[in-house]
Amino acid sequence: MPLLHVDHLSVSIHAHPVLHDISLHVDAGEIVALTGESGSGKSMTSLAVMGLLPRGAQASGQILLGGTDLLAQSEAQLCGLRGRAMGMIFQEPMTALNPVQTIGDQVAETILIHERTSRSLARDRAAAMLARVGLPTDQFPLSRYPHELSGGQRQRVGLAMAIALRPRLLIADEPTTALDVTTQAQILDLLKELVADFGMGLLLITHDLAVVSSIADRIVVMQKGHVVETGQTAALLAAPVHPYTRMLFAASRHRVDLPSPPPPVPLLEVRQVVRDYRVRRGLLGRAARVRAVDEVSFTLQRGERLGLVGESGCGKSTLTRAILGLEQVQGGTITLEGAPVWTDARANRAVRRKMQVVFQDPYGSFNPRHRVDRLITEPFHLLDSPPTGTARQDAIAEALTSVGLTPADAGKFIHEFSGGQRQRIAIARALIIKPALIVFDEAVSALDVSVRAQVLDLLADLCRRYPLSYLFISHDLSVVRSITDRVMVMQGGRIVEEGATEAVFSAPQHAYTRALIAAAPRLPDLERPLIHA
């Protein structure tokens, strides 16, 4: 008998159906990945299992955990099962822990809720569990508070809390999405170990197919509240049947065809740039200097697509802001087409108008109160004589059509568009003053896999039509590999390796690059060489 058997589960919220006839099962010792794009209902399914559906939700069907129908249990009975028979960890480690309670107390609480034992015994067991997840008490005493830990460490605490009583079932909802690549690999390895060690069943929810392929025994694919396909991982990846699954896998493996870069002419030159932050410690503390960018030098050629990878805290955001003229540097120079970005503590408008940027968050990149035409013409502020009247209308129409939208969209508000369309509008905004350089700052990271493929294709297309040079910043190595000619790897404020993309990815020289590439989960068959059109 399977450990968890979800049988014809349907859920509606305020009479609005969100899950349709979901059936899946997880066996003890098995890792089942529940995957799909945003809105597919995978998180909702996991909340239904735990009995944590939001107010106004109605569920029908059966959820059998070892024979007990969870949907037929009262809230009191469910409380008895949560934490003891089934545990859950969530996506966002930074907000998942109680900020005013020590980590020791939080882990011990799981034990104290379900067992009659003394507080000190519970704390001892908590210490043992924290050590098991990689937080030994000599380095991480039980009296630590969550804000003293990093994201990866907090996620480990969450894991310790969830498995403290060795539940039979563990549900992990996007547990590594918010973490760095190397931390992600560690947490995934830890999960695999614990499953093998404790004999738990793991229901892993993730949109990242590479993660799925590296860890899951079986895959369940969901779309818009339906299960469309399930099967053993290797078999399913090799031969998907359902059109949606095929589309999903193809999009994840999508390689973009970039045109060949033109002969090199320097466009952006960054020389020995240093950016220090002064960390003020209040009235009586001493000011400390944090070096965010440490003597970085590189050249971006005209028409080149340069990638920048690094984990959080490496300094890539700071470097980007310095290049764009938003923050002054404490040392070194940045020039675009020979002209310096900064002159006498002021950023040069004439230089800044040759650079634009596309941001990560399609939902936060636009003022919700402005219409599209006003939104995409914001860069006109950098021009000495911005176009007016028909010239302006023409510029708007051209920008919108070049990204695959229509001129009629100019009169709409941003909330009328989907995430992928908003990123297209963001690209239109970046293109409208025909800058020499565009910076893409994690521009596709927040998009669903299918939409991401479309936007990357759009980029390749724009490269063919315009002389487009860009700096592509991302933590997602597979995206960088397909969309750039050269790549730089940044760590601790320094560029530790740079070179042609394929060369760096297939034969990394620096230890950190090697660690990064080794840690990044990969979909099988992603190692064929890039073909230039």
Binding site: A347, S365, N367, E378, H381, L382
Partner: protein
């Protein structure tokens, strides 16, 4: 943007508040009786057909006095909110635009300092030096409103400054001032409207308190607070003299608060229906 419009809270509140506001405006051109007329033979009458709310200890018609008193309450409260917003919002925007810098620190410390002076204390200071009057009440309540709006604006603006669309505006070369006006301000107007309604109602309460102790509008200008002060010695003989002005205050403030709640539910898309 706007949800169920208009909602029940807003309607009831607006109706209540409007009764008194309308009364106040009407009294500018007409009241049932003149309020400066003393009519001792008719003093302390309970409500009758001739005097809908009765008369006070000097024979004056209470309904007329309530109407004219509304003028004082509304004028003081509105001007005080005006001062609070007019000074507080720009201060808050500036502090957020220069967050972390010395100007931000300076403005925040200034805010904290003003918070240490309740409007009564400011009114005491001003009155001691310049003599009593409605203007003092306006200034005293207005000054205390400044840090309320400054702090609220700064908080809201700070979270907006983190958003990418502000960064996009900076990349387009726009200055902090321009961004504050073009991008931040329009996105905080609903918050300001709601808070303005609340501060308006608080202003009416504050004005009543100040005129009760004699620091607000002086005779012959009537005010609800002073009506209460005058009724105090007679409260056992004629409780209606204390009840009626008090109820006027309660109903106006209640109406404004309901309006504020209703506006907040309508204008803030993040408020869940359950609240």
């Amino acid at each position: 943007m706007t949800r169920r419009w208009p909602n029940r809270s807003l309607m009831i509140g607006a109706a209540l508040a409007l009764i008194f506001i309308a009364g106040g405006f009407l009294s500018l051109i007409w009241t049932p009786y003149a309020i400066d007329g003393v009519d001792i033979p008719n003093k302390m009458l309970l409500p009758t057909a001739a005097h809908w709310l009765g008369t006070d200890h000097l024979g004056r018609d209470i309904l007329s006095m309530i109407m004219v008193g509304a003028q004082t309450s509304i004028a003081v409260a509105v001007l005080a909110v005006g001062i609070g917003m007019g000074v507080g919002i720009p201060l808050g925007l500036t502090a957020a635009a220069r967050a972390g810098g010395w100007l931000d620190e300076f403005i925040m410390r200034g805010n904290d300092l003003v918070f240490a002076f309740p409007s009564l204390v400011i009114a005491i200071l001003i009155t001691a030096v310049f003599g009593p009057g409605a203007v003092n009440a306006i200034i005293a309540i207005g000054i205390f409103n400044i840090p309320v709006f400054a702090r609220l604006t700064r908080g809201a603006a700070l979270s907006l400054w983190q958003r990418d669309f502000i960064l996009a505006a900076r990349v387009s070369g726009k200055s902090g001032l321009r961004i504050s006006v073009e991008h931040i301000l329009p996105n905080i107007t609903s918050l300001m409207i709601v808070q303005g309604t609340i501060q308006f109602s608080l202003g009416i309460l504050a004005e009543a308190g100040l005129s009760y102790v004699g620091l607000g509008a002086q005779p012959p200008i009537p005010s609800w607070g002073r009506m209460l002060a005058e009724s105090q010695t007679l409260v056992s003989l004629a409780p209606q003299l204390a009840l009626i002005p008090g109820l006027a205050i309660v109903l106006t403030v209640l109406g404004l608060n309901l309006m504020g709640d209703g506006l907040r539910d309508m204008l803030d898309p993040r408020i869940r229906a359950e609240r």
